[in-house]
Each structure stands twice: as structure tokens, then as C-alpha cells.
Symmetry: C2
């Protein structure tokens, strides 16, 4: 995997989870210039992930912008709606999208990222979406990224001037185990990352995000430092 | 022009300007069910337009959601950046995009609209973009709307289930005069709308938005009630 690009700066969407932490490590390796981490406070129940994102941004010594946009006002997801329970991984139905799906989440995240990139002259926007070990969310798939990249080309000033923001998705085809291995190679602070959908003092161990994380660490055969 | 559609509810992006007010009138005519107006408090200097949007939503007796997302934190536009002066209409250069362009504004607005539509089961999202009497913003053009509609089809749960949110742009090919005429026909409260980019007690009369509005009313040959 080649981790370099010519750039005048990159933005990383950093949720504080495992995938975005590895995405951050890849972006730091690739980007010799300015790196800006952006975290969304969208009303998620797992408040702890915002704090973890700040720690991870701090680890890399880069600017950290927390964007507040409370989607819990219109709800539609168990990640933000107090009236909807977060299901355990084994409650999911094969092939169906679980209620942890947040309507238009990555569409909103990437839209704001395009705005910041254009205002701050950053040429790349990294997002750690993954369409292999994931929950079936439509906004994690290559088709979506391709469609959104076209929006950047035709809907922004820098796009129509021939210099569109490039959406970079280094993890999109990796398994969770591969993501962890790349994170290890790059000395990403995996122990700081928080994947659990809940906001307990320790990860619940039963939600789908905990399940996928745990499976990945088992496959690699290493300990998850965040649990120590 | 046909103003009807089968729907389980519509959302209108309502800035409080002339175009979005007419767009609201068209949506109210077309939508027999639930209608939700959404206004963005994005840090715009023209604070008055948010109040006007509330009055217009009140006129139609529909729910009004004000979404706060302060893009002035990263700036990049004279509409939000205190350090950038809003130019007068005659300061613009033919063919260039003026500094009133807000990076990714309509991309962000439509993204949030998709989220609200999906969470609240609204099938149509109206936006009063116009690519004729406009300032050359790339996110007001048909190419952009087409690209963004594809994002709704492939990036949302309801999109991949075959029921994507439909982005509706009734004004996109109209002149400002035609927009005013349609507004008149539909008894839209044009006098409540606010187009000026500045936040003075009365419209400045010199910015491009005032210029386009004034030209439209002159062409139709009626008085602009907002100036009385």
C-alpha cells in the first residue's frame, strides 16, 4: 500500500473509533503538510468517543475541529434516539440494515468536510469507511463514495475549477483484521480508540461494533489495549 | 406548471429569501400532507433572514426547524467572515464566482435535508436554487442537483430500498421575474422575504442579491412590498 500523495493539506474525519484512528495514521503518513482532524458531535449516545477523538488528534499533534450538529432532534437511529435501544450483534437480521444506521450521517460528515477543505485549502478528505466488516450501512460503500466525489467535482468552486477535493477511503476494502494490522504497522494509538455504541465506562462487548472489533483483534491474534 | 405530486410529506429548505419563499408556496400547493420548513443558522451576517424564515413558515402554519451549524468557524465567504466585505453587484467580474460563495453551502443544506427526510419519512426535499438570475454558484446548477440526487439514491437506506428522497428544484430554470410572477399567482408572502446579504435595518440595495431582486420586480412591473 502506497501512503503518499501530493497535497496542500488533508482533513480526516475522526470519530474516535478504530477505523478512523487507523485512517488518521494513514493520512499522517501520506500527508507531509497540514493535517486537520474533524469530529462530529451529532448527539451520539457514546459521548466518550468525542473525548477519544480529541486524544487521538492530540497524539498526532494536529488541529482538531469538533463540529456540533445535533441530529438527535429528528432521530431515526438508536445511536442518538433515547427511545430506541441499541441492539446486540446477535439481534441483527442477515442482510438487513440495523437501527444503528444514522440517516445521512456520512453524507452530512462529508458535506461539512468539503466545506472545511474548500475554506481552508485542503485538497484531500479522508474517511475511514469500510464495506467488508461493517453493518451494511449504504453510506460506507464504494458506490456512495463515487457518487459523492462527483458532487465535489460539480458542486464546488474548486471542483469546477478543475481542482476538486479528493475523497480518500483507504480502508474501504479491508477486513477488520487488516485494518488492525495496518494500524499496528503505523503505530496508530489503537488503545485510545473507542468503538462501542454505548456510553458505559467500558465497552459493552455485545453491540455489533464491539463484536466486529473483537473479531478483528482475535483474527490478528493480539490483545485489544483499549480493554486493559 | 404542474404543482402536484404523490407524497408522504415534504421538506422545504427555507432561507427566508425571495426564491425559497416562492419555493415554499409551490411546495405548499403540491404537498397535501405534512410540510416541514428547515432553515440553517450557519453564521450568516444577515441574521434577519432567519427571523423572516420563521415568519414565512408561520404564514404557512408549518413546522419550522432551525438547524445551527456555524460555518463561520472556517470561513471562506464574505457572507460569514467579518474580515471579508460583501461586494456590491457592480464589483463582480463577469463569469467569476463572487466571494459571497459559501463553500459547500447547498451540499451541506441538502445533506441535512436528506437526514431529516429519512428520519421523518418525508419523500421530497425542495430547494429554491436558480441557475439563471444567480451569482454563478456551482451548487445552484442542474449538474449539481443531478449528482446530489444520485447520492440520495445510493447513500441512504431508503434510496437503496428503491424509495429515494426526491430533490425538487421548481425554480432552477426560471428568471427572477418569472419567480416573482409565480409567487404572486400563489399568494406567496413576498413582502416578508429578505434577500439582502447585509444585516442592516433595511436592504442595502447595492449587493448582488438586492440587485437581482430589484431587477426582477422592475421587469414584472410591480412594487416590492418588502421595501415599503
Amino acid at each position: 500500500m502506497k501512503f503518499t500523495h501530493t497535497s496542500n493539506g488533508s482533513l480526516v474525519i475522526l470519530s474516535g473509533g478504530l477505523d478512523s484512528t487507523v485512517c488518521m495514521a494513514i493520512a499522517r503518513k501520506a500527508e507531509s503538510g497540514n493535517l486537520v482532524a474533524v469530529t462530529f458531535d451529532y448527539g451520539q449516545k457514546a459521548r466518550v468517543e468525542i473525548d477519544r477523538a480529541a486524544q487521538i488528534a492530540g497524539h498526532y499533534g494536529c488541529e482538531h475541529i469538533v463540529v456540533a450538529l445535533d441530529v438527535s432532534r429528528w432521530g431515526g437511529s438508536s445511536l442518538v434516539d433515547p427511545g430506541l435501544e441499541i441492539p446486540s450483534a446477535d439481534q441483527g437480521q442477515q442482510g438487513s440494515i440495523p437501527n444503528t444506521y444514522v440517516p445521512a450521517r456520512n453524507i452530512i460528515f462529508l458535506s461539512v468536510a468539503l466545506g472545511i477543505c474548500e475554506a481552508r485549502d485542503l485538497s484531500h478528505a479522508y474517511i475511514g469507511v469500510n464495506s467488508l466488516d461493517y453493518s451494511g450501512y449504504p453510506d460506507c460503500r464504494p458506490e456512495f463514495i463515487e457518487a459523492f466525489s462527483k458532487v465535489a467535482r460539480v458542486g464546488q468552486k474548486r471542483g469546477i475549477e478543475g481542482n476538486p477535493v479528493s475523497i480518500v477511503t483507504p480502508l474501504i476494502s479491508m477486513s477488520k483484521a487488516e485494518i488492525i494490522e495496518v494500524g499496528q504497522q503505523l503505530n496508530a494509538p489503537l488503545g485510545l480508540s473507542w468503538s462501542c455504541y454505548n456510553n458505559f465506562s467500558a465497552p459493552c462487548g455485545t453491540c455489533e461494533s464491539c463484536y466486529l472489533r473483537s473479531k478483528g483483534f482475535s483474527q490478528v491474534g493480539i490483545e485489544d489495549e483499549s480493554l486493559i
